[in-house]
Amino acid sequence: MSESVPGITPEVFAPVEAPVSPPQASEEVEFVQLLTPEGERVEHPDYSFDLDDEAIKGFYRDMTLVRRIDTEATALQRQGELGLWASLLGQEAAQIGSGRALNSKDMVFPTYREHGVAWCQGVDPLRLLGLFRGVDQGAWDPRENNFHLYTIVIGAQTLHATGYAMGQQRDHAIGDAENGEATIAYFGDGASSQGDVNEAFIWASVFNAPVVFFCQNNQWAISEPIDRQTRIPLYQRAAGFGFPGVRVDGNDVLATYAVSQQALSRAREGSGPTLIEAYTYRMGAHTTSDDPTKYRLSEDLEHWKLKDPIERVRAYLTRTAGVDHDFFDQIDAEADGVAATLRAGCLSMPEPELTDFFDTVYVEQTPQLVEQKEQFAAYAASFEGEVR
């Protein structure tokens, strides 16, 4: 029984339905899937994949090359050429599907793991290595490829993306699905706990910003499983913020493409934000500094190996699309070439000098910093010819 409170309608006190235990975040609830792990095409009532087999071959090529780049970077780290590497292994479909759904005017805000999206945006993979080799913190011009710098502090970029989208809105750059602009923000399951991400959801919602929140739920935030971040499937959070959320099979490149395209179109048309939860799995360590054997079971890994994003496309192309061995051999050869170029480029990356780093702290250089730079240069010069 609820008593009437002045100014508040009785509906507010209407009894809610009997509480049911919410679905657990780690449960495999229904998601959008268009290509099964076995490589079978399936239909979905709300999402369809309308590109041809040539496009699917393109996705296969993208994913294979990106995985090869990733493997090579991991090897370079093991050999001491990189200080660190954050592998995308297992997340190729989430990144290529969403990355290929972008139009040339769309803007991307990545974490530090979006090597596949960088590839789609035409960023030279060598540029990605600068950060991890410890020679550069921003080796590419974000404006050239509409691909912002990697952001390491978890979730911060979701607000940047939202602000950028508000700019697109104010520039009247939205309006129709083809020519309008949208922004996509990548983040992970761990980041979903950050205040910044929740604030981004609120901003995007109340300003109806043309932003797509693309969460790769790879189940692990370093050692913490998804149920340490959420009790409900992540995509369901969107409803509370007032915009649609959808869970997609993150290992299905056709589905991630279709879902991303629809969300991006919505944003470009001015219909506001969408949260996409790409349900996937971090097949490797968090970074090369991490040792996942300390906190997770190898059975999980085996289970997810059967859902590999590349294998299912290969199965489809072979069995259904009649693609022969030559195609796959050609891609493998191309991948070896990309890897060799990456390795050679990494090894010949110029060593930077600390003196180079005094000039970009400010737009308008300060006298104090000029003095420090000169003092350091003179000090460093006093060691000329010596081994320090």
Partner: protein, 325 residues
């Protein structure tokens, strides 16, 4: 006597504090099963359970904000911030809530919260993983700020920090986590938390340092002997408050001082020390107080960190300059 590393010293100190007081809880990201990214909390969750060793969601403001609530309820939270650069989402909670609670409640409410932050460079890490933000906390009234420079101090200082009824920001020199020393747990700590210690006696100049720079300064002092110079090395240990009597006594003896820290030069801890030493030791000084520090740039990509960080050569260069006056 057991041989321990600095990281193990903190681990053992946390364990001792948890055994001594059931209200001590440890919280942070990846601190449970993984034992923290530096393994500082290794084994604690297994032995004390998930209610006392709490793997938190990934939200630093949440870690500190809920620690405030736990402290209000009588707990003594020890929060781990995974890396120096990740503390800033929690900065609002630390500055506006943790630091001011005692003051604005007329002393009725205490905030016995310890915020552990692995800090400093030298490990070849990517950006936001090598910073020295101690000034940003030491400048804030209401916070105490300390840093340990050796494994024995690590063991005792973390326990002393946890026992403190004021909030303590506890900076751990991450590149020294593997330094080793002998620890005898049965010998009580030599010093209270907020006291500096002379770690090497000398007569010609004083090196004032803390955290990761203690080892660097000791090496510099050793090398300076070849030049016939006897350097005194003071491990400050406490940055807020400074232990000024120990600093003044040393500087009055040697008449020359160099402050060494990784944090940037301008308005770093060295700035305050130079000002106070100038006021208090003016007639004893043979030279102005010098500073050997990180530069006033953001922390550079790691391939340049050896040039950015004060090292033995830069400290000795500072010694040459201070002796040249």
């Amino acid at each position: 006597m057991t041989k321990i590393t600095l990281g193990k010293g903190i681990n053992a100190g946390l364990r001792a504090a948890m055994e001594a007081d059931p209200k001590v809880v440890v919280m942070g990201e990846d601190i449970g099963k993984l034992g923290g990214v530096f393994r500082v909390t290794e084994g604690l969750q297994k032995d004390f359970g998930e209610d006392r060793v709490i793997d938190t969601p990934l939200a630093e403001s949440g870690i500190i904000g809920t620690a405030v609530g736990l402290a209000l309820r009588g707990y003594r939270p020890v929060c781990e911030i995974q890396f120096d650069g990740f503390v800033f989402p929690a900065y609002d909670q630390i500055i506006n809530q943790v630091a001011k609670m005692h003051f604005r409640s007329h002393g009725r409410i205490r905030m016995p919260v310890v915020i552990r932050i692995p800090y400093g460079g030298g490990i070849g890490a990517v950006e936001h993983h090598s910073e020295s933000p101690e000034t940003l906390f030491a400048h804030v009234p209401g916070l105490k700020v300390v840093s340990c420079g050796d494994p024995v101090d690590a063991y005792w200082m973390i326990q002393q920090a946890i026992a403190t009824d004021d909030p303590v920001v506890f900076f751990e020199p991450k590149r020294r986590y593997h330094e080793k020393a002998e620890l005898d747990e049965s010998v009580p700590p030599a010093l209270p938390l907020h006291q500096a210690k002379v770690v090497r006696e000398g007569t010609d100049a004083t090196l004032l340092c803390y955290g990761p720079m203690v080892k660097t300064c000791l090496q510099a002092a050793e090398a300076a002997v070849e030049d016939g110079r006897q350097l005194e090395v003071v491990d400050l240990r406490t940055i807020s408050p400074f232990d000024l009597p120990t600093i003044f006594a040393s500087v009055k003896k040697t008449r020359r001082a160099i402050v060494v820290h990784e944090a940037p030069y301008t308005l770093g801890p060295g700035s305050e020390i130079a000002a106070r030493v100038t006021e208090e030791c003016f007639y004893h000084l043979e030279a102005p107080v010098l500073r050997v520090t990180g530069f006033d740039t953001p922390y550079p990509p790691s391939r340049m960190e050896e040039d950015y960080l004060p090292d033995l050569d830069r400290v000795l260069d500072g010694v040459d300059r201070v002796m040249g006056y």
